[in-house]
Symmetry: C2
Subunit: 151 residues, 2 copies
DNA sequence: CGGATATGTTTTGATATCAATATAATATTA
DNA sequence: TAATATTATATTGATATCAAAACATATCCG
C-alpha cells in the first residue's frame, strides 16, 4: 500500500468513527425506529400503529383539516399522507371528503369510531410515555426542543 | 349532547393537544423524516440515500461484521437490514459472504467501490451537518444525549 | 373566453420498516 | 448419535417513505 493510500484509509476511518458518534440524522433514525417499535407494541391491542395514533391525534379537531397543513405539521410528503390515510379510512377511523369550496382539496375528519379508538389509545400513550420519560434518565425538555428545531 | 359526552370530548381534546406538543415518538418521527429528506437530497449526486450512507459508515471497518451486531447498532430489525443490503449489494458497494466458521452467519464487507463512494459522501456530510448544527440554534449535545438514551 | 400557470391530490416505482413465519445451521442433551 | 432447542438469516405481507410524473381543478392574464 502506498503512503497516500494509507493516508486516505486513515482519513476515512477517522471520519466514519466521527460520523457514527455525531451524526444527528443517524441518531434520529435510530431513536425514531426504537420509539416506533415501542409504541407500535403498546398500541397493538387497539389495532393501530404509532404513526396512525399520531395522525388520529392531529385529526381530532372540531373543524376538518385539509391535507396540506397536516402533511406539513407531520413533516411528511403529501403523498405519504395519502398513503397513510388509506388503512385508517378502510378501518373506518377517518373519512375523506372533497371540499365543495375547492374541489381539488380534501377535508379530513376523524369518525366517531376513530374517536373511540383514539380515546382508548390515549390511556396507553400516557402510561407508555410516562415510563419512557422515567427510563431515559435525561431531562426530556432539551430533547424535545432539539427535535422541534429540526422539524 | 349529554353532560358526559361533553366531558369526554373535552378530555380527549385536551389530551390530543398535550400529545401533539409532548409526544417524543411523534417529535422523533418528524425530525427523522426531515433529516432523512435533507441528507437524501444532499447525497443524491452520489447515488446513495442517508440510510445507505449510515450503513456504509458502519461497515467501513478493517474486519468484516455479522448482521446481528449491525442491526443492533442501527436499532433496526434484522429483516430490515437484510432488505437494506440488497440495493447496496446490487450497486456493488458491499459484499455479503457466508461465514465459513458458522455457515448460518454472513460477513458484511464494504467494497473498494463502496469506500470510494463513502469517501466522496463524507465531504457532503461534513458540509451538510455543519450547516444543520448552525441552523438549529440549540446546543446539539443534549439532543444527541437524549437520542442516545432512547436508542 | 381561453390558453398558460399554479395548486392540491393521487399514482407509480423504489427503498424502508416491522412482525410473523420459514429455512438453515449450530449447539445441547438425552 | 439422534432428537430437540437455539441461533442467524431470509421471505412474506402490510404499512411507511419519498420523488417524479400524472391528474384534476382553480386562477391569472391577454
Amino acid at each position: 500500500m502506498s503512503k497516500n493510500q494509507a493516508k486516505n484509509q486513515t482519513y476515512l476511518a477517522e471520519a466514519t468513527i466521527h460520523i457514527r458518534d455525531h451524526c444527528l440524522c443517524l441518531h434520529a433514525q435510530r431513536a425514531a425506529r426504537a420509539l416506533a417499535r415501542r409504541f407500535d407494541d403498546a398500541l397493538r391491542p387497539h389495532g393501530i400503529t404509532s404513526g396512525q395514533f399520531s395522525l388520529l391525534n392531529v385529526l381530532n379537531r372540531q373543524e376538518p383539516v385539509a391535507m396540506g397543513p397536516v402533511a406539513k405539521f407531520l413533516a411528511m410528503d403529501r403523498s405519504t399522507l395519502t398513503a397513510n390515510l388509506k388503512p385508517l379510512e378502510r378501518q373506518g377511523l377517518v373519512s375523506i371528503e372533497i371540499d365543495p369550496e375547492d374541489r381539488r382539496s380534501r377535508k379530513l375528519l376523524i369518525t366517531a369510531e376513530g374517536r373511540k379508538v383514539l380515546r382508548a389509545a390515549v390511556g396507553v400513550w400516557k402510561r407508555e410515555h410516562a415510563a419512557l420519560e422515567s427510563e431515559i434518565g435525561v431531562d426530556p425538555e432539551p430533547l424535545r426542543a432539539g427535535l422541534r428545531a429540526i422539524a
